[in-house]
């Protein structure tokens, strides 16, 4: 398994190419510097731990190699835990270095909980949920995504509304929801699904973006209105957050079609999507996301042009 992981990492580095690899290293270095400075205070360390736990939970729910690991390994949970602790090495090193031992204990407690198997009723709940009645037939990512992340979405938003009297609650639930929504655009559809729109490349991309913007703005309206009602002094925070998330989601859509290959997942696509996810937390990365978004718009057009050229 260790050998497989090393081989996978090697292949991913090769697929990314040198410029992207350098970009990845630069982002990692910036992230590490930020983590070091944030974890100096107990509050910063606490936030870092909670966000990392959320990221690990999301990563664990979405990884495709779980059935493989369950079959091949005697103790898959121990293996996953070891992997996640290795991935979080910078965080726990920073926490230990700054002497935030309570936060370290929280991390050691929460990471195993975050990867516990979801209750079996999850699929039944997803089945009962009928977004198809409310959403346009083309919003296939939303229909699949809302069911896939049904449970975390309900938990995050219920918690957000319940704690809405605290100014941080609704914006935080909005960030986490926005993060999950980015995951809706992770999987590539099949060629027949792509062609079912019967649109040329540019109209296809704009349709996808506009449809998403419409749905996301609508579902963000209730928390935004409640937030503005409860905390009018920060009225600008939620519209700004929704706008930021819309930019990041548009970026995720463009990444998807830049690296689109019917039914295949692209390591480079995964990396750039993750970069968008990180940008939700590090405003420093936002200009880079904007620039990459513009570049990816043209790259996405070129990539899907051979598949949709005839709908011109």
């Amino acid at each position: 398994m260790v050998r497989l992981r090393v081989l996978q990492a090697g292949r991913m580095a090769t697929t990314l190419g040198l410029p992207h690899l350098l970009l990845l290293l630069a982002v990692l270095a910036t992230g590490l510097a930020l983590l070091w400075s944030v974890t100096k205070s107990p509050e910063g360390a606490r936030w870092s731990v909670w966000l990392s736990v959320a990221a690990i939970a999301s990563l664990h729910q979405n990884r495709n190699d779980r059935p493989f690991a369950d079959r091949q390994l005697e103790q898959p949970i121990q293996w996953f835990l070891a992997e996640y602790m290795l991935l979080l090495t910078p965080l726990w090193l920073c926490i230990i270095a700054h002497g935030q031992l309570t936060e370290l204990l929280w991390m050691l407690l929460l990471i195993p909980i975050s990867i516990l198997k979801q209750p079996g009723k999850h699929h039944r709940l997803a089945q009962l949920f009928k977004p198809g009645r409310l959403l346009p037939r083309e919003a296939i990512e939303w229909k699949a995504g809302l069911r896939r992340f049904y449970l975390p979405l309900v938990v995050i938003n219920t918690a957000g509304f319940a704690a809405a009297f605290y100014p941080v609650a609704l914006p935080l639930s909005q960030v986490l929801t926005g993060w999950l929504v980015m995951g809706f655009f992770e999987k590539n559809e099949s060629l027949p699904m792509l062609r079912s729109f019967e649109l040329p490349p540019s109209r296809f991309l704009w349709r996808k973006i506009a449809l998403h913007a419409r749905i996301y703005s609508l579902i963000s309206l209730p928390p935004s209105l409640i937030f503005i009602f409860l905390h009018p002094e920060y009225w600008f925070a939620m519209p700004l957050l929704v706008l930021t998330m819309l930019v990041l989601h548009t970026y995720a859509i463009l990444v998807k079609y830049t690296f689109y290959d019917p039914q295949q997942a692209s390591p480079a696509g995964g990396f750039f999507r993750a970069l968008g996810g990180v940008a939700a937390l590090l405003p420093l990365l936002f200009p880079l996301i904007l620039l990459l978004g513009i570049r990816f718009y043209f790259k996405a057009l070129n990539n899907i042009k051979p598949l949709l050229h005839d709908f011109d």
Binding site: A126, K143, A144, P192, M193, R195, S196, P262, P306
Partner: protein, 228 residues
């Protein structure tokens, strides 16, 4: 009519799979593409569906470039979002006149269940139903019988025979019988080369042509392996 004119295609440079491959497929008939594993059947279908671009040569469908407007394509492995229902998937393919529930009496799918709960055969039937729903003049079906039970295979055969008059249907299968029972023409390819094309009335010769040389080869190899 589909005209494939001297196409060349290589997955790796200097190792062409197709090199000047030509074939013409007449309308209103079912054409079968047969060949061993790795012969290039799926690659050829992907080129026809304009998912892959040939390095040289050109393809025309009724005088036009191949396009998604004309082709319904059933891929070997059908990918679906697990968390959508069969009905939601079908509704992606616009067709006002197609009644999902009426057609589903034939296919017998739980259309309001999530695709995650579908078996391999059910997913295949859903993909076939989507091809029919999209109502294109050309249907390209890569291994449509894979994963189907006996009853569904027979149903699909009857269905294709019924609709062939208004369409050009191209099918691959690694099971020769499923092609001989259905097709009007069978084209046998080997390592990217067209070995022969046979019309329905001469299908008896196909097995003889394909398997005689293979049987000799296998006998020879098995003899050597078991003796050692």
């Amino acid at each position: 009519m589909i005209l494939i004119d001297s196409i060349s295609f290589a997955w790796q440079k200097d190792q062409p799979l197709f090199n000047g491959f030509s074939l013409s497929l007449t309308e209103g008939e079912i054409h079968g593409i047969a060949g061993l594993n790795g012969a290039g059947k799926t690659t050829l279908l992907n080129i026809l569906a304009s998912y892959l671009k040939p390095d040289h040569g050109h393809i025309s469908i009724n005088g036009n470039k191949p396009s998604g407007k004309q082709i319904a394509f059933l891929e070997t492995e059908n990918f679906f979002y697990a968390y959508i229902t069969g009905r939601e998937y079908l509704q992606l393919f616009k067709n006002k006149h197609f009644n999902d529930d009426a057609w589903n009496e034939l296919f017998g799918l739980p259309l309001d269940e999530l695709i995650e709960h579908y078996s391999t055969g059910m997913k295949k039937k859903l993909a076939i139903m989507a091809c029919i729903r999209s109502d294109k003049p050309v249907m390209i079906l890569d291994e449509p019988f894979n994963g189907l039970d006996l009853e569904s295979s027979r149903m699909l055969r009857s269905l294709l025979l019924k609709i062939r008059a208004s369409k050009t249907i191209l099918i691959t299968s690694h099971i020769l019988e499923s092609l001989t029972n259905l097709c009007d023409h069978i084209h046998y390819i080997e390592k990217g080369k067209l070995v022969f094309s046979q019309a329905k009335q001469d299908f008896d010769e196909i097995e003889h042509k394909i398997f005689r040389s293979l049987e000799d080869k296998h006998k020879d190899l098995l003899g050597r392996l078991l003796d050692s």
